[in-house]
Structures are given as C-alpha cells and as structure tokens.
Amino acid sequence: MMAALIFAVSVVTLLMFFVSYCRSLTAASSSYELSKEVRDVTGIHAIASGRDFARVMQLLQLCPERPEDRPGLRAVAYYFEILNLLQKTLARLTPSIQSWAEQERAGCANFAVVALDRRIAFSREILAQQGEL
C-alpha cells in the first residue's frame, strides 16, 4: 500500500519536474537573437510555431553535432511528443489547454531553431579552422 502510494506520487512529481525542466530549457533560449543565416535557412523570420519543429529537427540532422546540445534536444523532443499527445486528447475538450500546448510547442520549435543556429556557427568555426590548416 505504502509502495503504491509512493509510486503514484513519484510518477506525478516526475511528470511535473520533467515539464518544468523542459520549460527551463526552452525559456533559456527564448531571448536568443537568431542569425540571418538560420532565418534564411528555416524561413522563420519572426516567431517559430509548433509546426516548424519537425522540419527544424530534420535540418539539425544535416549539421555536425555539438555534444553539449544532445541531452537538451532529446528532452525537448520527448516534451514535444507529450504536448502532441495532449493536443490530440485532453486539449480537444478544453480550449485553454489547446492554446497553452500550442504555445509550448512553439517554445520547443524555438529551442530547436536556436540549436540549429549554434550548430551552423559551430560548422563555420570548423570550416574556418580547416581553412587555416
């Protein structure tokens, strides 16, 4: 009985901490100013929307990986999947959840765009170093 109670409470807090952790990741990239290159590549000139996420993730695959990006991107990708699930289920009944989930999905897309921007800058650095050699 005690174990079942601890399990239930822990799963709820795990979900809560996961959502907050992902929000802290996306919030950290919200004030980032995108470069002209990434805006041209993605076609996002003002604010990213949830629909851009999959496309930006595909573009990320084309750039050399930065090891420090990997855990954050993976966590945000899982969070995005949870938000998709939420949109397909609970959000259909409650409009406020629908708009909140869309806002969060946009935050995830923005995080991915910032990661792409950093990867492009990283690729340029590598090319410049190779050019010097």
């Binding site: 174990a3 807090t13 996961f18 907050s20 802290s24 954050g72």
Partner: protein, 231 residues
C-alpha cells in the same frame, strides 16, 4: 558479474560523473558547487568499492549486497548535503542560512534516528527488504525536500539558470528513483527495475553536466516562464 547491459550502464554513469567534475573544474566552478562535486567524487569512490566487492565476492554475495546498500545510503546522505547547499544558495539572499543549516541538521538527525529505530525493529531482514524499503523512503524524503525547494524557487522568483536546472534535475532524479524503488517493491524486484535503476543513476550527472556546459554562472531565466499554467 552483472550482464553486459548492466555493466555498460554502470560505466556510462562513471564517465558522466567524471565529466561533471571535469566540467566544473574547467568552468572554474568546482568550489562554487563544492557539495555537488563532493557527491560525485564520493560516487566514484563507492563505485570503486562496489567493484572491489563484486569482483572478490560475486554479485549474489551478502558482502556485495551490504556494500551496495550501505554505499547507497551514504550517497543518499551526500546528496542530501548537496540539496541543502542548494537550499542555502536559494535562501542566501534572505539571510536564512543559519536557519537552513539548523533545519538540515535536525532533519538529518531525525532521519538517522528513524532509520535506527527501523533497524532495531527489523534486524533479521537488514540486507534485503529493509535496505530496499529504506532506500525507497530516503529517496521519497529527498523528493519531498526538492519539491519544497522548487516551490521556494518559484515563490522567490529565482532567476539563476544553473541553480534552477540543478534543482529540477534533482527533482527528476529523486522522483524517478523513488518511483523505481516503489515499483520494485510492488513487482517483487522485477529484473527490468534493476536496469531502470542503473539508467536513472546516469540521469543526474548527465543533466548537471549539460547545465554546467551550456550555461555560465551569469545566465538568467525569466521566472514567469517556468510556471506551467494553462490560462
């Protein structure tokens, strides 16, 4: 010896622990987050000790089980100290450091007394069920403490990215561990739970190293963005 998957998870955990300490030194934050680093250094020491008992006595030996659960209890204690150091950091500006330290000592004494009382009552099942239940309870207390600290972070509008992410990672780690141990108790320690427990052990050094690499001490967050509220 454990299977190749369990060993691989163990080695990954060791590499991540070393990575956090190295990153802290490289970022000149070792002493700033001394207790977090101490926790991982103790973790490395306990890994070495466990490996010694494992190779000398084998996986199913009583010696290895004692070594495993007692180093686990010691590490949980070290993690409490790391958590209290985060409390001191969050409440530092309110000049409540002395109160936090006093409360921490009281809590540790209370936990020790509670554990001692349970040990006295269940001496005959010290190694197996008791140690398992004790770990589950310790992780759950850690989870409650982290939850309270997270509430304080939101209330005090803490903006330091590193502190916020360290606390959230700790919350994730404690919740996942408490759930895992409780699931183990419910499902009579199914083998999958053992692998899960090892994988969760990698979560904390992974997320903390990521935070250390990605953010500087000057990085700030907007506290309003941390509240997950649908309006």
């Amino acid at each position: 010896m454990p299977g190749p998957l369990a060993l691989a998870i163990w080695y990954i955990g060791i590499v991540l622990e070393i990575a956090f300490v190295v990153c802290s030194i490289a970022r000149k934050s070792f002493f700033r987050y001394l207790f977090l680093n101490t926790y991982f250094l103790l973790g490395l020491g306990s890994d070495a000790g466990r490996y010694f008992f494992l190779s000398k006595f084998g996986l199913d030996s009583t010696e290895y089980r004692y070594a495993y659960f007692y180093t686990d209890a010691l590490l949980t204690l070290a993690l409490y100290v790391a958590l209290i150091s985060l409390y001191v950091r969050v409440f530092g500006e309110l000049r409540l450091n002395n109160f936090v330290r006093f409360a921490a000592v009281l809590l540790l004494l209370g936990t020790a007394l509670f554990s001692y009382a349970v040990v006295v009552q269940s001496e005959q099942r010290l190694v197996t069920t008791f140690a398992y239940e004790l770990s589950q309870n310790l992780y759950f207390v850690g989870l409650v403490l982290t939850y309270i600290l997270w509430g304080a972070v939101l209330k005090l509008r803490e903006t330091r990215t590193r502190v916020v992410q360290f606390i959230l990672s700790l919350g994730l780690y404690f919740s996942a561990y408490a759930a895992c141990y409780a699931l183990g108790n419910i499902s009579s320690r199914h083998v999958a739970v053992q692998y899960m427990s090892g994988a969760i052990g990698c979560l904390l050094p992974l997320t903390w190293t990521f935070t250390m690499l990605r953010h500087t001490e000057e990085s700030r967050l907007e506290p309003a963005r941390l509240l997950a509220v649908a309006r």
